[in-house]
Symmetry: none
Subunit: 488 residues, 2 copies
Amino acid sequence: MPAYDDLLSFQRVTEALAQVAGRTGWDQEAMMPRGAARQRSEEMAALEEVLHARRTDPRLGDWLEEAHAKDDVADANLREMRRSYARNQKVPARLAAELARVTSLAQGIWAEAREAEDAGAFRPVLAEVVRLRREEAAHLAEGGDPYDALMQDYEPGGSADAMAEMFGTMRPRLVALREAALAAPPAPRLTGHFPKEAQLQLAREIAERFGYDFARGRLDLAVHPFSSGSGLDVRITTRVDEAEPFGCLYSTIHEVGHACYEQNVAADHLLTPIGKGVSMGVHESQSRSYENQIGRSEPFCGWLYGRMRDLFGEIGVASERDFYRAVNAVRSGYIRTEADELHYNLHVMLRFDLERALMRGELEVDDLEEAWNARFEADFGVAVDKPSNGFMQDVHWSIGLFGYFPTYSLGNLYAGCLMAAARAELPGLDDALAQGDPSQATGWMRDRLQVHGALRTPAETIRHATGAAPSAAPLLDYLDAKFTDLAK
Amino acid sequence: MPAYDDLLSFQRVTEALAQVAGRTGWDQEAMMPRGAARQRSEEMAALEEVLHARRTDPRLGDWLEEAHAKDDVADANLREMRRSYARNQKVPARLAAELARVTSLAQGIWAEAREAEDAGAFRPVLAEVVRLRREEAAHLAEGGDPYDALMQDYEPGGSADAMAEMFGTMRPRLVALREAALAAPPAPRLTGHFPKEAQLQLAREIAERFGYDFARGRLDLAVHPFSSGSGLDVRITTRVDEAEPFGCLYSTIHEVGHACYEQNVAADHLLTPIGKGVSMGVHESQSRSYENQIGRSEPFCGWLYGRMRDLFGEIGVASERDFYRAVNAVRSGYIRTEADELHYNLHVMLRFDLERALMRGELEVDDLEEAWNARFEADFGVAVDKPSNGFMQDVHWSIGLFGYFPTYSLGNLYAGCLMAAARAELPGLDDALAQGDPSQATGWMRDRLQVHGALRTPAETIRHATGAAPSAAPLLDYLDAKFTDLAK
């Protein structure tokens, strides 16, 4: 198979350059000095130009035509390369470079404007990002739905209709559970001071307990927690609030879920198209399983309560059960990343509807803040008080991620399927979690799902791991049991 | 000038990618997790492949032929691009790839062999590096002196004959000063414990005093101090020994000299061929001026003594004068990077003579260690005790840097010229230094030299700043005055 070998050699260099581009993004968030933004946007554009040239190299078309798969690995690599090649052929190089330049710039403007609560300073560059992404979506969709076209970058096989159906199934049960939870006595809150260094020490310890390998990664601070990289260099970030330790700890567990997926892909697949997570939805299934289904479970909370008492002394809650209730408090808050498991998907639904409208040209950036605020008050019963609690809270839109948000809910759905299957096979799981040991569950995820990377499509990846097609039922049953118990 | 504009647009992208490659190198030394090495070597090779392809792109030849300079900036950019293109055209692609592969391998072998004091493990790969660099030098020299040809990568316009003449002038006066210094009573030594965080705090404060802009840079720890990047993102590293603070502080000042040259190049030149330091020699003139002529001056040492007493309490020396003597202690050590101002150039002379003989085929790698040890004992009066204190101490030869070492001495010579000119114009300099304020001197360097980047050739850069052609006399007069006083 000389064509396949040529293709894979060429692709290996592209994948290596993509890792460099990803790490340059990490650097921008975690390390870059503030005054470097203008130069950095040229650097990112240069990398994007090189990557785009490689991804649209005419030789790829010839090789892809000639290449034949000798096994399932080659078959999957060809599937990924064909999808990527077809996608990139459709987008003009000028547009790809412009998108890279503008989103890099917009991210910096977003961060400063958000800090200053200055929506007006963010709006013009966001309008530019939206204009460019609409243009790209038109190229990709070739007459079809622009939102569906953009979704393929994050969830191959996903569609706005499928997402709308998923949300339609979820919404009534989530709303009912939320109402019951809000009617119950409020959960206790932690009190006290949680020094930054101690939080980071605990975050590092928990990251290791969940299987994160620091020999192939590192944990740093950034405005927005994220995981970056594949294979031998997978880095995570977190943030610290000295009055509120759960943000740091559960963000870390969340990013560890993403990072373990990337670290645990079989070494044979390093720097090949399948040597990484297959989609954002499957990725999110890992982060949400780690964060919520394991990290916010009653037995693990029991262990964490003891560990936090050791580290921080009195923390304002008097029992493991109260701590568990504090960790899983249901409140109508502004911030998606701080939302409880019931509100989280309502946050996503709001963004899904708004960004779909933006991409379809049914909503303009000038009207976005008002639309957000109206919808938020309708869904959450609270008025948005400032942009950083509203439409400027997430980095996503500033960097052009439209079509990405629904993968968070899809990830919750997948997590429900995966953890139901894992629990059925791991009767000792809760006893181990009560000792602060999540390795049975994380090992199950590693062996059933993570090692395979992008060998199978997203839906097939879940089916291979669980033995059944994905559905919302396990997630909704899990939420029902957990939050009905908590509302007692 | 369409050809010139095309050329500069193309080059801007290349320069941006070179910045990314440089920062990837920084990351490798300062941030990379240890388990990432294998993946990182593929990433670096991929970046090198892209950069090499751009630097030998056939369009460059056409553009360079057609392009005409409309002003001195365009003239200088064309000079730099023509030199680089001609250089890369002369080296066969096979040889360039082989050199990249072997030097990357050799650096790893050097590091392990040096750690194990195993010269035999290093010799075969060094012989291979020497063989390849000789071959490359023959291509570059086209019948001329191979060492001169290699020097052009580091010091355009430099030559072995000019270096030999420089060293011939320096040597007798350095030897005489060294003998007088070693005959004088030994300098006092600092005692005490110097906590890492306090050293880094002081290093940051001093970096700012010397004009380093943290909004466009950062200071981190690495095994070897270095400066990396140009323009809006110029990062430095240092190292900390809690028993010996001068290593951290003076390495920092040295790297700040390099970094300020890169930070202060006029913004108009950002990401163009002249938007960076013009040569290694001129670069070293900045780091050595900052480190030695300013940082190790008596008035600045007086201020530093007070600052260190504030931070560290008793440090084992009883007066400003004793502190100044401790900072400038003259000792016959093995290690170039730890050498005082008198011994430093003797270290360089040894390397220059040996590497010139290697490149001319008058010395073979099998005889290198013996030649080094004999010469070291003759020059320094001490027998080399182990390879890491001898011919294996520097990374340079393992990565193929032959013709680089003399630029360190040339930098000292240039620093002598520059500081003599600056002092003649800045009568209040010593009073300001005694207050810990080097801004008169660093401002003079910025305005006279740094802002211009590579607008002029190295020798013209010095002549423009000082009004005179470079010569060794100012450096030797400075050393004479300083060390005659210190030996009293």
